[in-house]
């Protein structure tokens, strides 16, 4: 397949199937997914901000939308993605700064971050459904 004389146009990253699933890897993948979710929701932030700072009617309409099913679901997705991306982002930053770099610490902190996000997801769901 990798004939040296031929130009192969393939992705630089290996396929997912070559990895063994491990906490640190799941944490990295989830970081990517949460980052993508946060970007995709950016237009929504601007729209919400625009509505909330407009006329009183705009504000009321925004409130109604936020309390609708779709609004609550969006808040939940953004909230969980943000919380996870934030925690794991700080974890990545500290790893880049040279703290907690041992393999064991990286696995442990990955588990901690994932567990925290799980708890946050539940709490936010309770808040939004209540």
């Amino acid at each position: 397949m990798n004939d040296p004389g031929r130009l192969t146009r393939r992705s630089l990253s290996p396929r997912l199937s070559v990895y063994r699933w491990q906490p640190a890897m799941i944490a990295s993948l989830a970081h990517r997914v949460s980052g993508l979710i946060l970007v995709l929701f950016v237009p929504l932030y601007l729209w919400i901000l625009h509505g909330m700072t407009g006329s009183t009617d705009d504000f009321e309409r925004m409130q109604q939308w936020l309390h609708s099913g779709l609004g609550r679901l969006s808040l939940w997705f953004v909230g969980v993605a943000l919380f996870y991306h934030f925690c794991n982002g700080l974890r990545f930053l500290s790893i880049d700064a040279g703290w907690c770099e041992s393999r064991m610490m990286m696995r442990l902190s990955a588990r901690v971050v994932i567990a925290m996000a799980g708890v946050a997801a539940l709490l936010l769901a309770v808040l939004l459904l209540g």
């Binding site: 630089l12 980052g35 993508l36 950016v42 700072t53 504000f59 409130q63 982002g89």
Partner: protein, 120 residues
């Protein structure tokens, strides 16, 4: 190896990496605050006047401006890395990254215009 390196040099890679971390630190401070304000509005603890009191002043506008710049730099660098990882064809890669840059800059300018146009 030559092919892989074609557009962009190793030096600009480090700058991107660094900018993404710098913007991450700014976001880590400012973004949770914004989300808390949003939730307070949702729960009704903050009405529109309360919200305007918080956002409609010079310091808030300045912080908001910093937040948006950091957000866009961070999202741009992040998506760029992802496109470079998953899009192997150089032509597509360059167009996607370019399109993203245009879209995001437009968005950022629009957003800043809204913030600085608030009355008061």
């Amino acid at each position: 190896m030559k092919l892989i390196k074609e557009p962009g040099s190793a030096r600009s890679g480090f700058r991107d990496w660094y900018l993404q971390r710098l913007s991450a630190v700014v976001l880590a401070v400012l973004l949770p605050l914004s989300f808390v304000v949003l939730i307070l509005v949702y729960t009704g603890h903050l009405d529109q006047f309360g919200l305007l009191d918080i956002v409609d002043n010079f310091v808030s506008r300045l912080l908001h401006t910093i937040l948006i710049i950091a957000l866009i730099v961070h999202a741009y660098m992040g998506l760029k890395v992802m496109i470079e990882d998953y899009v192997p064809v150089i032509g597509w890669r360059v167009s996607l990254i370019g399109g993203m840059l245009v879209l995001m800059s437009g968005f950022g300018i629009w957003w800043l215009a809204i913030i600085w146009a608030w009355g008061g």
